[in-house]
């Protein structure tokens, strides 16, 4: 049975600081550059969630879109939107909130509720984004 991939796009705005507690001050500045700036900065993040599955012949749909929106909003967007990721999101205790780590944290959350999760794409600025498939 052929599978269609459905992607929906969500937005959140957050502050973060890239700083690793296991690196020295000098190494932090070298690795993260201006993203290591002490008071933090922020981004408008765009999160694309892709699920997949066979198309139900009765409804013509491969996913319950209302349920998908509910899960993403309640478990991810409410947790991250208008937050400072370093100080207010427990998943980033001891884990630097880089794009790579944010996309993995979102995967850990969503894959519990979305069995057909296929891919996440997190756009951090106009010119860089991160993709993850578990």
């Amino acid at each position: 049975m052929p599978k269609v991939f459905l992607t929906r796009r969500y937005k959140f705005s957050a502050a973060h600081r890239l700083h690793s507690e296991t690196l020295s001050e000098e190494e932090n500045r070298r690795v993260y550059g201006k993203c290591n700036n002490p008071a933090g900065h922020g981004h408008n993040y765009c999160l694309e969630v892709t699920v997949t599955g066979p198309v139900d012949p009765e409804t013509g749909m491969c996913s319950d879109v209302e349920e998908l929106d509910r899960v993403v909003k309640e478990s991810v967007i409410e947790k991250l939107d208008h937050k400072h990721l370093n100080f207010e999101v427990e998943e980033f205790d001891g884990r630097v909130p880089t794009g790579e780590n944010i996309v993995q944290v979102v995967w850990e959350i969503l894959s519990k509720s979305l069995p057909h999760l296929y891919q996440l794409r997190l756009q951090e600025t106009r010119d860089n984004f991160f993709e993850y498939r578990g």
Copy 2:
């Protein structure tokens, strides 16, 4: 011989109503929400057609682009553009014109003429899209 993937983007504007004849009125409202609204609504659809193939060393191309445009325009865009999908496109007789079904209908049409068709991507609104690879 290495393959390049070429994608071209096409547009069409259409009306549709999500309503399954095998579901009750109440189930239709629950499954499709406001998309089940009786008089229909519409979208600007963006269709991306990806073909692939080895690059001809003489022309430096992996596809006959003029032929690709001709096929897509004549067989897909003319059929769907400025139409009400439920009432004017025979492929949707007894088949709900969801994004999932539209992208499969387009695949059925194009794969007959385009042996190197690789993927279709149908964007329905700014924040949702459908991908299909046959």
Copy 3:
């Protein structure tokens, strides 16, 4: 006191048919082309609402954004979103739902509640849009 212009963007998806009851069938086809197609077609509309006013020195804002969103959503988006404009929106009884008329209808509605309304911009397709300042 210097004025800032604040613009917020809203979306709605609707079906319409361009057809004037005061024109003959032939004139309708000539004037509206494929937009006169009997069963209608549709678009994803993007509406930008611009308000202006002096910046309150205490709040640093020129507008009550929550109130602006509430007014636009309740009086415009709920009326137009997922509707067939010709059949389900009384403002288009006897008024062809062209971009020019939609933007004027939205102005008539919003200018009653938004004294600082400055401009509306309605994008109908990727390549055409309408602006109106009353």
Copy 4:
């Protein structure tokens, strides 16, 4: 002599918190909503700077673009990019870093060096932006 308007787009990423010291805690929460969240959040800002002037018949240009870029980058982007606006930018001491105030602060800075400055447009999220003409 006819004037052309030249616009160039610049980007910066910053954190901010909307909180007015002259309002009570409760008023702050009511006025700013989730933007009042204590630890702050952030955005990718897009700044469009428009200058105008007659076109020099010899060069065919209305502005020294390299000089424009230099001024904007040195006086605005370096000041705001990858900063927390509340704590690290002195212009926001006692001034809430709303979009309205940011665009005015940028105007105050740029209008000293750019006599032909015509308009600023500051986009804060995908769906809201601020314009200012002094």
Copy 5:
């Protein structure tokens, strides 16, 4: 009678070199930088044409869109698209094909046929554009 502003977007791809015959080699390099590179370079230009007028109560339109498209395509796009502006477009004999001059050349052409022409906007790269109102 209230006026609506209608804008339509057109595209053309062209090569150009910024080089003024009245400047020395050194001045050309200083003024135009890498745009003075001898063999030329190119852009995807996006041209937005804005016309205005009262809305015809019978048709609900402020402009004959098919005629507008015909005029722009025949008189502007065919002249500029897939051309090297310096060598193949007579309007640029002795006139440097800067964005400022291109937008004025297009105005000179279109204003002859479009009495309700209001504004042109020419985007040359993602981050710079030119506007002209005659």
Copy 6:
């Protein structure tokens, strides 16, 4: 160890002419259409470079972004930006600068320095792009 895919976007503007020395004049016109126009034309190219690798638990990153930017800018962007590809880039001696060939030339250059290169995507116009994975 799970892998994240990081993509960064770069821009260059270039002129080119599609013309194969092994084809007759007539065949060139038939194969390339207006892209065969003798004096050449140009585009704003957008290049997306995707690298992949396991995420370093200490830094939370899968790639040295500064190094990636340095390599792409020094070896690709400086070579192609503001150039006429047919006359000024030796890699296109005897190789038609089609999108397919440009993306392969960029792969040949980058894969020498970027062991974790996964995919390139080259957008040539708003509506066509090329992808390559070696």
